[in-house]
Amino acid sequence: MIRYIFFLLIVSQSFVSAQTVADFESFDLERDTFLNGSEGQDFYRSGNVALKVDFDDEFNLWSGFSISTMTDTMTPGFTNQYSCISGSGVNESKTYSTAFIFDNAILLTEGEAAGKPVLGCYINNATYPYLSMRDGDQFAKKFGGPTGDDPDFFRIKIQKYYNGRLHDDSVVVYLADFRFDNNEEDFILDEWRFVDLKSLGPVDSLSFTLASSDVGAFGINTPTYFCIDNIITSDMTSPVDQTMADHLSVGPNPFIDHLRIEGLRVETNYRLYDLQGRMVSYGTISPENDLIFPHKLNNGIFRLSLENEYGKFFYSILRMAN
């Protein structure tokens, strides 16, 4: 009960502003294991994002996003391609995602985050490129070169697809940067770094591409891997719809057996979801009939979706009955 109240305190600032964190812990993998699409998945879903993975059954090759609990921070080379250099996810969580980018990697927003801004995510180096950049390998150079002065870099460019179009706006994250005049400022990222993605605005999906200063005739020599965790999606309405949302009021909260939606101007479809994403109630309400009577609900947090000609609005509500 206390946690429900605590949650309400967080979300009560605005019922229409909510966040979901994709932390991949729900995969419940054992330590030092990974999923790479070989089990037939096209996407790995966590929170309100879906991460694309491609697995080639013929040759047992993968690209895109894997789910990993690998902890090896010492072994160089592609035999250790799923590990993160910090040996864990954000805040030493067990699970994270390692991406191998052959062309690009795609992250979809979905559910209540579909078409909404992605607030941010945490990025880190995978062990394979980290050790390759630090020590060099048979194909890729040691960053900085023999003198340490080479202006090397390894970076991710994050762009958004929205309304079917790849936008030029991008967020660039440096996984390694040796371009500083003072070599002491050079770094290879070895801890989780938060990346603010709000500037991209609403997105349907995110595209991740990698670039390196170490490029030859065969493309990037640096191993094209990175790790991602705790992707924070926003479930709030877009600014355009905010005016309409401001006129709506959902209550009581907590509720027992019914909800009233005040401020409706037009007929509106509603859907009620539990935290596992299962729809537990649905129907249509209007300015004349603005009550919802969901049946046989357990106590807990639910997500209410309202959709009409003005847009789609989300609310977090708590059912609390004796």
Partner: protein, 643 residues
């Protein structure tokens, strides 16, 4: 009958001046032509010359050939195939460092475009389509020969730009002969080889042993202004034994057999792009072959059977990688040559090759059958020799387009000769190209194309002087060049027949030799301009239309000067290589000088030779392959004893 002439090994040929000159002339001019023509009826038996069955009936009319014959004092020094080709400036050798992998680029082609032959059988690794030349010690063979130009109609797949022949020969009636050579050098280099030969009229046996080890932990400067570093994990250890047996049933029927076992273990040093390397590579080869040659009337029949079993074990404990590959090759060659009296000759041959290979990335054992059949007609008179040849090949139930060639050699006068050759050549895709998972493409076509060349050869000979000038112009177009490129929608690269390559150039060489009473001076030089360009734009790997091929220098040159005084020889060689286009960066041009000297002492039937060499005498910092430093000034000294 067809014979090849071998000069008896000796620290110096012991004849009077006239015979000595005759032999020199023989070596420089007649012997190559003899091999070229391969006619028994024109063999000249010189004193001190042993006639032995030749290793191959195959000729290549119209081609330029370079033959190494160990007759001089300095020729006693142990060397591998790549060192010979590199030191003499005969072709560009792409060496990854001292004792490391070495491949060649002949006439602007890739390593896969030169056939490597041992007694006429292809040594080339069928998985890679090339051969590591550093693993081929010349001390295990009697003769090495470089044939330039398209000779696929002679030797089949891969002989697009030429061929390297390493031949063993069986001698009879020579009694007991032996040779021991040992040398020590910088970075704990030690090398030894021995050869024991015994033969009587009907039976012959030769045992050759070879050993080489070195730490190769030389210091190098990684870049301008940077402190010296020491190369680690560059050690090598090679051991090999080659046993030859010959049985002469009678003067017309000779059986020879060879067993060659070799083991190599070496470290793969870190490149300049990485901090350390613990990678190692072990190469093991067990090669057997048997040849039966029968002379009847004016005809020669030859049957060769060979079986090669080779493995490569690459390990990198740093990245937990272990990769082992192995292959077995069974070869059958049947050759029939009809030598009718008169100007016309005919020949046919049939070649069969079965390869079975395994590497984890194939996912299964791969078996492949190739067979080819060829025929040729030659016409020769006093001044002209011409040859038409054609080879029809099949692999994996697919027909390879017929590969014809036409060669002409015309002696304009005593000192001028013209040679010309036009040929169609091909290379069957390697097993990796077809079966590697992922990306192997079993639908690949053979690379194929035409090459043309014309050569002018001038020789001037006098009692105490000889000189030679050769200039060759060549042109080659190769279609269906196999390139690995990214496959759309797949996370890997795959092989395809995407590229077209155009190679053209001029090769020239000059030599001058003069005798001043007891002193002989010799100057040689060669200068080559080769431009080899891609004719198709490819997105990845990034190749622009008209771009030069990777690791093919446009200019290479070599100049050497030698003096021979009594039993003393001194030689300086200077090589210059133009910059090349590397995968990640250009590799600068470089010049390397080398000094060699030797002295021979005679004790009755025994000759004792001391020799020494200073490589990279000017201590140049240079690279042949990007990120792979080459050694600075280094030394070796050795002795050779033989009867």
């Amino acid at each position: 009958m067809s014979f090849v002439v071998r000069i008896d090994p000796g620290c110096r040929i012991q004849q009077d001046d006239v015979l000595y000159r005759l032999q020199i002339i023989w070596l420089i001019i007649i012997a190559p032509l003899q091999d070229l023509i391969g006619q028994a009826d024109s063999v000249i038996l010189l004193p001190q010359v042993t006639v032995v069955p030749g290793a191959s009936l195959t000729t290549s009319t119209g081609s330029i050939m370079e033959t190494r014959v160990d007759t001089g004092i300095l020729d006693q020094m142990p060397t591998s195939l790549d060192q010979w080709l590199s030191d003499d400036g005969l072709t560009y050798i792409k060496s990854y460092g001292l004792g490391s992998i070495a491949t060649l680029s002949l006439r602007g082609g890739a390593a896969q475009h030169t056939a490597i032959l041992w007694n006429g059988l292809p040594l080339t690794n069928p998985m890679l389509g090339q051969m590591d030349l550093s693993l081929l010690p010349l001390g295990l063979t009697d003769r090495a020969q470089l044939v330039k130009g398209g000779v696929a109609s002679h030797w089949g797949s891969g002989a697009v730009d030429g061929a390297i022949r390493m031949d063993n020969m069986i001698g009879f009636g020579k009694g007991l002969k032996y040779r021991l050579t040992g040398n020590l050098g910088s970075w704990k280099r030690s090398e030894g080889s021995s050869e024991i030969h015994w033969s009587q009229e009907k039976l012959s046996t030769t045992t050759r042993l070879f050993y080489r080890s070195a730490k190769n932990n030389f210091k190098y400067t990684p870049g301008p202004g940077l402190p010296e570093e020491q190369l680690e994990n560059a050690q090598i250890e090679n051991f090999g034994v080659l046993q030859s047996l010959g049985l002469k049933f009678d003067d017309k029927n000779i059986l020879s057999a060879y067993v060659w076992w070799q083991d190599s273990d070496r470290g793969i040093p870190a490149t300049l792009r990485q901090d350390q390397s613990m990678a190692t590579q072990k190469d093991n080869a067990f090669r057997t072959m048997m040849e039966f040659r029968s002379y009847w009337d004016n005809n020669v029949s030859q049957l060769k059977l060979g079986h090669f079993r080779e493995s490569l074990d690459y390990r990198d404990p740093l990245i937990n990688l272990s990769s082992r590959s192995n292959f077995n090759t069974t070869l059958v060659q049947l050759t029939q040559q009809f030598n009718y009296p008169g100007p016309w000759q005919f020949g046919v041959d049939f070649r069969f090759r079965h390869t079975s290979a395994y590497i984890e990335n194939y996912g299964r054992d791969v078996n492949e059958i190739q067979w080819t059949a060829s025929g040729h007609v030659t016409y020769h008179n006093e001044n002209l020799r011409s040859e038409i040849r054609a080879r029809q090949g099949f692999f994996e139930n697919r027909i390879i387009p017929i590969m014809p060639s036409l060669g002409l050699e015309f002696e304009v006068n005593d000192w001028l000769e013209l040679r010309s050759r036009i040929s169609r050549n091909y290379r069957v895709p390697t097993l990796n190209d077809r079966y590697w998972q992922p990306g192997g493409n079993q639908d690949l076509l053979p690379e194929e194309g035409w090459s043309e060349e014309i050569s002018v050869i001038m020789n001037w000979n006098a009692i105490d002087m000889s000189s030679n000038v050769e200039v060759s112009l060549f042109n080659k177009n190769l279609e269906n060049w196999i390139v690995w490129t990214p496959i759309t929608g797949r996370p890997y690269w795959g092989a395809s027949n995407l590229a077209r390559v155009w190679s053209r150039g001029v090769e020239s060489s000059v030599s001058f030799r003069k005798r001043w009473v007891d002193l002989v001076t010799e100057v040689k030089g060669n200068l080559n301009y080769i431009r080899s360009t891609n004719q198709e734009r490819i997105d990845q790997p990034i190749i622009e239309e008209g771009q030069r091929l990777f690791y093919v220098p446009e200019w290479t040159g070599n100049l050497s000067a030698k003096i021979i005084y009594d039993e003393f020889e001194f030689e300086y060689q200077h090589n210059w290589t133009d910059e090349v286009l590397g995968i990640n960066q250009r590799v600068s041009s470089f010049q390397v000088g080398c000094v060699r000297s030797g002295y021979c002492m005679k004790f009755e039937d025994l000759s004792f030779t001391v020799f020494g060499e200073v490589d990279n005498v000017w201590n140049a910092d240079y690279f042949i392959v990007e990120g792979r430093p080459m050694p600075g000034r280094n030394f070796q000294i050795g002795v050779s004893i033989k009867n």
